[in-house]
Symmetry: C2
Subunit: 129 residues, 2 copies
């Protein structure tokens, strides 16, 4: 329910985030972008992700066409993951976000400290703003 969305942009953004907006998806894409091709356990080690979440994430990314899964029928089994063209193109907006973060995370930290300090004082004085 609640299709109260007036602005079309909100709907779009919502759609994006619903698909590729979760933490692990982004991290996997970044990892593959850097290393080119990785095996299941390599990704697992690099990201510090649980087996379960990696499995689920990779399946979704493959389904969405961002990563390509290549199964080599050898013993022991060998499966390689790489970015598709779509996956590579996704890297750019993510990098933009990363740059913004690099520039502004310190600002956020400062703001948080100030905010928390202010709230503490308000508790003491009991002031109602």
């Amino acid at each position: 329910m609640a299709d109260n969305q007036k602005c079309p942009d909100c709907k779009r953004i919502n759609e994006v985030l619903s698909r590729v907006g979760d933490r692990w998806s982004v991290l996997v894409v970044i990892s593959l972008a850097e290393h080119g091709t990785l095996r299941f356990n390599e990704l697992k080690r690099h990201l510090g992700i649980s087996q379960r979440m990696l499995s689920l994430t990779l399946r979704e990314l493959e389904r969405d066409g961002l990563v390509i899964r290549t199964y080599h029928p050898v013993i022991p089994p060998k499966v390689e993951y790489a970015l598709s063209a779509l996956g590579k193109s996704f890297r750019e907006p993510v990098i933009a976000l990363g740059l913004w973060a690099h520039d502004n995370l310190p600002n956020i930290d400062v703001s948080r400290e100030r905010y928390d300090a202010t709230k503490e004082k308000q508790k003491k004085t009991g002031s109602s703003l």
Copy 2:
């Protein structure tokens, strides 16, 4: 546990997403970017968000210094929210993401259909890849 993160980029991205990566935060920033200044219930209507989530989201955004909350002590109460300079700067990487989405969501849809269709066939034939 699991500080297995080898690549520093992953840590950074993780930090970004932890702060401003949730759906509602992004949507609120977009809304404020478009309308300039909005009251609590205006935001609520525009986004189709629940009172609870809007309250939580706005508090976090204010704490992070992305939005500025202005309380007008009149009757009935009036509170206005607007983007800070930091909040405005955040809009740009988000727009980049929105553009990517606009261009590529159809591709994702196609990919999903193909994937699902393939999986269906595999179930019928019982093929193991």
